[in-house]
Symmetry: C2
């Protein structure tokens, strides 16, 4: 028995064997390693080394490893293997992995491969390639266990035994009518714990949670989380079962959707590729548009500063608090907006809750604003020895700025969602420009009132 | 057949039946609804109504629903049901749900319930209550299928039939030695597709991926994602199998860990409770410390502004670009820091990659900085008709500020991780203060050089 807890040690051992050309030991250790760890090992190697190692793998392992590679590596293997080897590999792939691989390949190559497939596969692949991006259709696989209501438990088990190895999962079996309509499902657990002569129709659960081929992957992920299933059936508009989605494909989506929101909140165009794999040019390309837009919109604050120049000229000390006030507004606003964006992404709140959310944030703003305003006043007056009037202006401004920032921070993402724009886009960067401008206007108007200029 | 795609419709229908007191129809529809949807329905009801509905549920549904309730609702049911009803309910819960429920209950109540449990359960519960928070130990359940290497497939199936209903999952069966040491695992798929007289030891996979009871839940979630398993075995330090963790408990953790990072990036203390369920006071309490710290640290910029007052006095127009420059620096910095934080959280990069990351961000900074600097100069000089010298100062400053901000944004989270501080804490808010100050220093020094003051 050799259960293992660390991939690093395993990869080091594999590398050591490869370097010393101990091919037999290497094959043996590869055979005992998990596909995900072999993929990590391959990532450390040169394309040539990777090809050598790949050819050492057992066929079923090679297929599993290939499915997990990123597109660059797939391309490397596609070029390194001869066409027959590659076709055979492709043939063995699960259907969803096959479609993913074909999607990434040049169109001419896809045509050549499809031409040599049987016509059923060809038709199915072509159909799958047509689903909208990020839809349930692109996630599903047609390799599921389909049973009939009139089967007995014994017959169902015999059927599972026959088709089980070509199915993505055997743990949920789907019951269909002669026209492929989804009638219900039975878990393998229930099948193996029932008497052999029980009919499937007696066991099947009829109120099935389904998704449509056109459903967005984010909604599909949310359903998996909510119901805790390991597979969900995908139906077309006429309720015919066309595929299933399994949980292992979903966990990445939960992470990926969160990553995209992080990228948007940071003011960059989201990109599916991992940070470590992206070139500085690709990163810069996704960042420049926002930086540019924000820089230009920030010049609006210059206009405001200029139009209140007479106030600053009256009391030059006011100038020194500008960055502190706009920063505090920005921080208060992005606290609110980030939390609201995340709560909407996790379906904790819906746009229809807007009044509740805004009211909550105004209350939070008042509490935070009062705490900050009092401290700011005390610090200015007693610690920094600023004049009483200016200290008062700063303290009061903080209160109004924080309440304003919280309100804007809560409202903007909700408005975005209602307009059908991604709420994360409205996050910190855009809010900071708006909040900055409003903060300055509040500051100078309070100054005018108190100073009487 | 009635597969359903929308929870809202289902909940509305249930509510309609409850309002009209059509108890029979309500029971029937409840029987046909998924536990997760019943939980959503209960959330809409008053505590009294919820109790009425809860009593209409079939026992096995009631158990499943109860496990999914939040702590307030559990408390409501605990008070509403009589002690025997409640004990029975608790008895039926899966072990991990039982521990979760007991953890949330007052200590005296826990003692009373444990006293009436059998001594094995009592011991086990007490052991579980001791695992460190957020560890694999708190996620696992001892209800797994344990088989022996000498069993045949037929014997194993008979065993699964017997214990299957009390197990969290039957789809992965764990093979153990007489001393409970984990020897390997066999999937139910392999069992049902193998010949009845095959021995388990011939089928079992020996290189098991395991987690330790003390492993952090974030690492456990990462393992699930990496290997795509639906269950992972948990072993103690002597490699004895003590429990399993199933994927349905993990999907929430992936989401929760991302949510916590969002909260930290927004400069608020993370909180597990959903936004919608938190009071304004609780929200304010988690936000004030950071706002206060940042406000006070932002006053540092006032000190910088004051010390360069003579430069501003020489050319008053410089003053107008301060917010635009600090905003651009802040935006550029938070782009870098957010992406780096996320890449570390998803294990895309490790702290040891710091040199590569910093180099990449400097390059990105140069590309972005040049693009922004040129546009800023052109806009100032041609569009805003600012003096040539000042336009030049602004353009040059932007370049340096963006490069500096990207470097700081990349370095800070990595330094934090190396120091063992959460990198997300180092995100936008803290960075903005540092970047603001450095931006001002760069701005005024470039001004001094060019203006010769």
């Amino acid at each position: 028995m050799s259960n293992y807890n660390s991939t690093e040690d395993r990869v080091k051992e594999l590398y050591h064997l490869l370097e010393n050309k101990e091919t037999n030991e290497l094959s043996e250790l590869l055979r005992r390693s998990n596909a995900a760890d072999i993929v990590e090992f391959l990532e450390e190697l040169t394309p040539e080394e990777a090809l050598v190692v790949f050819r050492l793998l057992k066929k079923e392992d090679a297929v599993e490893v290939f499915a997990k590679l990123d597109s660059d590596q797939k391309e490397n293997f596609q070029k390194g293997l001869n066409e027959n080897e590659f076709k055979e590999l492709l043939h063995e792939l699960n259907f969803d992995d096959k479609v993913d691989t074909l999607e990434e390949m040049p169109a001419a190559m896809v045509q050549r491969i499809l031409r040599s497939s049987d016509s059923d596969t060809r038709k199915l692949v072509n159909e799958y390639l047509k689903f909208p991006e990020y839809s349930a259709g692109t996630l599903m696989t047609p390799e599921f266990v389909e049973i009939k209501p009139y089967m007995t438990v014994k017959e169902a088990l015999a059927h599972i035994k026959k088709v089980g190895n070509d199915s993505e999962t055997v743990y949920t079996c789907y019951v269909t009518s002669p026209t492929k309509e989804l009638l219900g499902y039975v878990s393998l657990r229930l099948i193996v714990t029932s008497r052999p002569d029980t009919r499937i129709e007696e066991l099947m659960y009829e109120d099935v949670i389904t998704v449509y081929t056109t459903d967005d992957q984010e909604d599909v992920a949310h359903k998996f989380q909510k119901y805790g299933f390991t597979a969900l059936p995908v139906v077309d508009m006429t309720n015919r079962l066309v595929g299933i989605i399994t949980v292992d494909d979903i966990m990445w989506i939960i992470e990926q959707e969160a990553t995209e929101d992080f990228q948007r909140i940071a003011g960059t165009t989201p990109d599916e590729e991992d940070y470590s794999k992206r070139s500085p040019f690709s990163l810069a390309k996704n960042r420049i548009p926002w930086l540019m837009f924000l820089m230009i919109s920030a010049t609006f604050t210059s206009t405001i500063l200029r139009s209140y120049e007479y106030v600053v000229k009256a009391v030059i000390a006011l100038n020194m608090f500008v960055p502190m006030l706009t920063d505090s507004g920005g921080n208060a606003g992005s606290q609110a907006s980030t939390l609201v964006i995340r709560a909407m992404a996790t379906h904790d709140i819906e746009p229809s809750d807007w009044a509740k959310v805004v009211l909550k944030e105004i209350t939070v703003g008042l509490i935070c604003g009062l705490a900050l305003g009092i401290v700011a006043f005390l610090k200015c007056f007693f610690f920094d020895k600023v004049a009483l009037q200016v200290s008062l202006i700063v303290g009061l401004t903080i209160i109004f700025v924080v309440v304003m920032a919280k309100t804007v921070g809560a409202l903007l993402p909700i408005v975005a969602e209602k307009l059908g724009v991604d709420p994360a886009i409205m996050a910190s960067p855009l809010i900071s420009t708006i909040v900055d401008s409003l903060s300055l206007i509040i500051y100078f108007n309070i100054s005018k009132l108190i100073l009487g200029v």
